[in-house]
């Protein structure tokens, strides 16, 4: 099983990891070897084996629909890198300067299938989350 540098860059982007060219090279080799090792399993004939849909042999674990208080707000926000007015505060992820009152990408993306949700490219070493422009 061979992994290309392109695959590594793509996966790194999905995980919002900023990798240097050397790192891409290192991980391309390492990931390739790991997958190659696991590929040994392909030699087994599994045609008669039921697919495993879940690792646990359990199903239907439920909870009652009874409200209970969660965290006090101070505690909920305690570990946030930034907070304001009782909200978590994050870098704005849409292009600024949209006319007041016009719908934002976030407001639209909240409805659903998340097509509105993929931000553009990663910033190098961006651990603070996506910082690209949305529109």
């Amino acid at each position: 099983m061979s992994i290309t540098e392109e695959t590594v860059r793509h996966v790194a982007w999905l995980a919002r990891l900023g990798l240097s060219d050397e790192e891409v090279e290192i991980f391309t080799g390492q990931l390739g070897r790991i997958l190659g090792y696991v590929a040994k399993l392909d030699e087994l004939d599994t045609t008669a084996v039921t697919p495993t849909f879940h690792v646990l042999d359990m199903y239907n674990v439920f909870r009652e629909d009874e409200p209970r208080p969660g965290l006090p707000r101070d505690e909920a926000l305690a570990n946030a890198p930034d907070a304001s007015l009782g909200f978590f505060r994050v870098p704005r992820i849409i292009k600024s300067g949209a006319p007041a009152g016009s719908p934002t990408a976030e407001e639209m993306s909240r409805t659903s299938s998340r097509t509105g949700a993929s931000p553009t490219g990663p910033k190098s070493g961006a651990r603070t989350g996506p910082g690209g422009d949305e529109s």
């Binding site: 239907n60 209970r68 304001s84 994050v90 704005r92 719908p103 659903s112 998340r114 097509t115 949700a117």
Partner: protein
């Protein structure tokens, strides 16, 4: 043949419905709407490390009820998957959803005699809400409220079976009515408990393949769904007529300008890296549970509509209007079963009652008048205690206060004047003070008679029995 007639639209809807449970889908945080930001959160819905989400059983039962009411096949085995994407409204950087093993598939809704197929119904958690600090170009921040994160959603995806904007709206209305009837969601578009995205493409009539589609978002009302589709269909046709190609993209409905605009440039290929959520165990639904859930489903809108036509003999149109909302339908049902003429009940509800609801924006639950009250009012009118005109005045009061009609009539002295002496006294007065009109009438001007009746009604505050007023006037003027 105009351009528009040579094309047809192909429309599919993705609807998200908030299920009306007390707590979130995977934790015990309350789902109440409008709480102070970040006061309905816990380690589970905030995605803190080491937590274990557990499915709310009520969520499953509600979703199963919806699946059965929408004629779906329920999967015996389904499970939850992680849909991965980083975005600040998502505390875990993934949304728990269902991917290749959804709870239900292959349903349908009957819309004006056409069957709109439902491709799938699955469960997922809602995301948080983003707000902006100010709206100037210099603002660099967004504020996040996670109260909504983890609120249970059922996503209902239709097949591309819808052909016109009005049919899309009718489908949504049917869906909303069904979900409200079975009590799984309040379906309030303005509070976001029902949200809709549409997919639309156009093709030449007679073609069977699909054109390139666009996805429309920011649809905050049924009207927006219909109007945005109308606009978008016309836009796509004119693009094709110009010899260009429709670009596959997501577009937003701009309510104020009534146009759709591209939401972002080139689409990123979606790559959500779905995989089974190892924190949640699979869901197995057996026949016994399905039988149990089936018993929870009440008479649905289409069945009720047919019954109203059959049992009460009201027109199909009335039955359609009255069954669009369960509360209204139940109100009618209760009145009609204890009043001699159901059509009269229907007229009052479709007239005065709906007019009042529309004018005030109140929901039916907020209007205090009861079925017993309306029936009592109609009886008072039948018995001649009050006139039809006064009945309307009394009903207006009932709509506001919910007071019994007999109380209102007593309190405000609205009892109809049927006493002949009293009526003749007023009639004589009116004749004496309108000699010219009387002369006109006697000279053959029929219209003048109406004026005189009006004067008598005015003098009695609308309380005089109209039939008796007519008779008295005619007699005095020598026409009887």
């Amino acid at each position: 043949m105009s351009e528009n007639e040579r094309y047809e639209a192909v429309i599919g809807l993705e609807v998200h419905v908030e299920l009306g449970t007390k707590t979130k889908i995977f934790c015990n945080c309350p789902t109440t709407f409008g709480g102070e930001p970040n006061t309905q959160v816990c380690p589970v819905c905030l995605g803190l490390p080491g937590v274990l989400p557990v499915l709310n059983e009520k969520v499953l039962r509600y979703a199963l009820r919806a699946a059965l009411a929408l004629n779906c096949e329920v999967a015996r085995f389904s499970r939850f998957d992680r849909k991965n994407y980083p975005y600040p409204d998502l505390p875990k950087n993934y949304q728990i959803s269902q991917y290749d093993l959804p709870l239900a598939r292959n349903g349908y809704v009957e819309v004006n005699g056409r069957r709109i197929r439902i491709k799938r119904l699955h469960l997922e958690e809602d995301a948080g809400k983003l707000l902006h600090e100010g709206d100037g170009a210099q603002d660099k921040w967004s504020l996040v409220d996670y109260n909504r994160a983890g609120v249970p959603l059922a996503e209902i995806v239709s097949e591309p079976d819808i052909r016109t904007p009005s049919e899309a709206r009718a489908y949504l209305e049917s869906l909303k009515a069904i979900l409200q009837y079975i009590g799984v969601s309040d379906c309030k578009m303005e509070e976001g408990s029902l949200r809709c995205d549409t997919n639309v493409s156009v093709r030449r009539k007679g073609e069977t393949g699909f054109g390139t589609r666009t996805e429309l978002k920011n649809l905050n009302s049924f009207k927006a769904v219909e109007k945005s589709l109308e606009y978008e269909i016309a836009r796509q046709i004119s693009v094709l007529e110009d010899g260009e190609e429709v670009v596959q993209e997501t577009r937003a409905w701009d309510e104020s300008r009534e146009i759709t605009v591209p939401l972002r440039g080139k689409e990123e290929a979606h790559d959500y890296r779905y995989f089974p959520d190892p924190d949640l165990v699979p869901v197995v639904v057996d026949q016994a549970l399905l039988d149990e859930i089936r018993k929870e489903i009440p008479e649905l809108p289409s069945a009720k509509r047919q019954r109203f036509i059959r049992e009460y003999g009201i027109p199909e149109y009335d039955a359609g209007v009255l069954t669009a909302d369960k509360r209204l339908a139940d109100f009618f049902d209760e009145c009609a079963s204890r009043y001699r003429d159901p059509k009269v009940v229907s007229n009052w509800l479709m007239g005065e009652y709906l007019k009042y609801a529309n004018a005030t924006g109140l929901s039916f639950a907020e209007i205090p008048v009861t079925p017993e009250g309306l029936v009592e009012l109609l009886n008072l009118q039948d018995e001649g205690v009050i006139s039809g005109k006064i009945a309307k005045t009394v009903f207006e009061e009932m709509l506001k206060t919910g007071e019994r009609p007999s109380e209102i009539v007593k309190k405000r002295g609205l009892v109809q004047i049927s006493d002949e002496n009293a009526i003749y006294a007023v009639v004589d007065e009116v004749i004496a003070s309108n000699p010219n009109v009387v002369r006109d009438y006697l000279g053959g001007k029929e219209k003048a008679f109406g004026f005189l009746v009006g004067q008598v009604m005015k003098a009695t505050g609308g309380k005089a029995n109209p039939a008796k007023v007519n008779a008295a006037l005619k007699k005095r003027l020598g026409k009887e």
